[in-house]
Symmetry: C2
Subunit: 459 residues, 2 copies
Amino acid sequence: MRKLIIITLSLLLTVLIKVSHAQNQDSVMIRKMYTEALTNPAGYKNLEYLCTKIGGRICGTAGAREAVQYVKKLMEGMKPDTVYLQPVKVKHWERGNKEIAQIVSKKKGKKDLHVCSLGTSIGTEDGGIKAEVVEVHNFDELKTTGRKAIEGKIVFFNRAADESRINTFESYGGAVDQRARGAMQAARFGALAVIVRSATTAHDNFPHTGVQHYADTVKPIPAMCVSTNDADLLSSWLKEDPSLKLNMNMNCINLPEVLSANVIGEIRGSEHPEEVIVFGGHLDSWDIGEGAHDDGAGMIQGLEVLRIYKALGIKPKHTIRAVAFMDEEIAQRGAAAYAETAKKKGEKHIAGIEADRGGASPWGFSIDAPDPQLNKIRSWKPVFSPYNLWFFEKGGSGVDIHNLKEQGTPLIGLVTDPQRYFDYHHSGNDTFDKVNVRELELGAAAIAGLVYLIDNYGL
Amino acid sequence: MRKLIIITLSLLLTVLIKVSHAQNQDSVMIRKMYTEALTNPAGYKNLEYLCTKIGGRICGTAGAREAVQYVKKLMEGMKPDTVYLQPVKVKHWERGNKEIAQIVSKKKGKKDLHVCSLGTSIGTEDGGIKAEVVEVHNFDELKTTGRKAIEGKIVFFNRAADESRINTFESYGGAVDQRARGAMQAARFGALAVIVRSATTAHDNFPHTGVQHYADTVKPIPAMCVSTNDADLLSSWLKEDPSLKLNMNMNCINLPEVLSANVIGEIRGSEHPEEVIVFGGHLDSWDIGEGAHDDGAGMIQGLEVLRIYKALGIKPKHTIRAVAFMDEEIAQRGAAAYAETAKKKGEKHIAGIEADRGGASPWGFSIDAPDPQLNKIRSWKPVFSPYNLWFFEKGGSGVDIHNLKEQGTPLIGLVTDPQRYFDYHHSGNDTFDKVNVRELELGAAAIAGLVYLIDNYGL
């Protein structure tokens, strides 16, 4: 009996020492990853080039083509085992060079508003549209207002994002239906066009664009967004002069679809090359800014993971793969192409990580996985606590990896500080100077650390 | 026995219901505080005026005088029970209009550097100083270099802040001795002047000023700081031309002390008016920026607590007091005057809260108190978790309330995201546009919530 106890205790001690040694090794390696990220601003410089030399890059455009080549070259420079383009057929919408909205009021005078066309919107006829404006705040109010009051007019959706929400993604989520489906809904009641308050908590002059959708069953009408300051102005002028008119003129256009690509770089696994950990963000961005936070930052953080692995000479057991997804903003065709190809090839994805919430300070991870995987990731909290990662909650990951869910892949989204994000999102304000080098690199190191732990211990 | 069990259970249930009801009421009130903060940008507008209309306000200067009057007027507008000025005698140092450092190298040519004088430094003689430069990285190296190599030269302290640290306060803390005591130490070895690398992790052209101290036992010599970019440049030129010279010319000056003030506003306690919860930040700031993050933000957050209390009609049991401290940057005379007066009046401070780490997203609280108080504050974590406050650790509070420690007052510092702070700190880059309205107001609500819980439950 005594002997048995001694053997058991010895075994236990050996296991404990091994576990502790492994944890210590993990801590040392993750510390190295953070040091590499914080002391080598390569990713930040790459983002600078993407933003300031290439700039806006909505799918189908010249900017997107140039960005694909640039990111491919960047990945090749990191010398992973493979870099390739994955074909993606994308929509091609061009903004044109005219997007004007001018209030014409007999009582108040004329006023040009800060506006821009919404993605996939048709343009107006050459002479534009001149019509009265009906202000509504949601689709119920639209219905109550009714065809008689709406027909032949421009519908102005003016529900503000709720600033009292702590998480700005909720503020945005509570307002964005007006942008996404406003035109489709207003057209049912005979509206000529829509103008939509920008979906942001900010009060400024930047219009925030974004995709909008037409329904097959209703006639498409032009759709534009207006800055929050000018939405307030239009609303107040309407109170004083309900019969004021709005001159709208836009020459955006939908063109035939074109071939584009996801850009993929991978380091093959030494033990399980057939099992993949995928991570990344999207390469396309809206055309009116530089796509710095949305999502140059997240896409570059994916590339940084490859760079950090190579810089530290880490050989992963599983294949680790960075993907710069094309067309997140319009129809998520890159996401679809990636998941379909993976299915066709019979690839097994053991985890997917997406970074598409802006390049601010990382908080942790939002985990879309059953409890055992969730709890396994949570068990790594102590390893991340020196890096101020504290958020390990069940929740959504991101739309570019979401299609892998049907494979049963645990999906994870990098969660970053959300307060400033919607000041920039989809606007001319989303520029490189809004990204902080340390915040960007801390996010990259967080993903690298998570990839490292998943590679070592699985999920 | 059965009766006893029933009575005990009933009592327990009553207590549990009361506790749960109180917790629920706390949650409701704190939610109201956050809503008031996030939907009313009063504090942000006040900070804008302070930064853009008054600007830099180092103690003793016209800016500081104007700021005292402005903050007094702001507090009065919030209609607390009392607003008053507390006299503080402060040093008066003026930067002057000349701060020049030019490299003169026979090999490399001439180059003007981005520099500024350090606070309390004496100026150079009228013609300036022209001398060779000795680069060192710490006080040990200074000693090893020795008098023979240093005498009659300018010492260039060039130890960089450690970028690999996760917390930038540690990066700063590891470099700032060169600024604070470089002149004093170099003078011991016969240096004519010092030029010090800015204590920041940023790589840019902003010189970061700050206070420096002379020793009574050594002759004061002029001290300036240089931007990190130009520190790198000077270092690389020195490698190519060790005998290059530096032309230094500054006309900063120490003038007689003047009378200034802390600005104080309080709401008297309804049950314990003699017991005080004090909170705030400092009113003075360096003169070369707008003192937006350091510490306009923290000072304004203190005022916001008063505003939120009045807006919601909350009547505190204890006296709650916002203090805008004068002279944090040079000699902390406001802090000293406040603590001395409190002692003289026999005031009992049940808690002190300071906000002086920049106006970025709040993380939680650093608590300088014995374990029972620390644990009580930690027990409130669940109430703060909807607001993403997660940091409740033992640590320092802030220099403006630190003197209350000898009274046994539990001291607390608002902890905010530190990544961007030292990009701005003490430089011309610390301007209003770097502050985000939501981040600022979330910090104000966090302090208001903590004051509310301390007022209700004590520590």
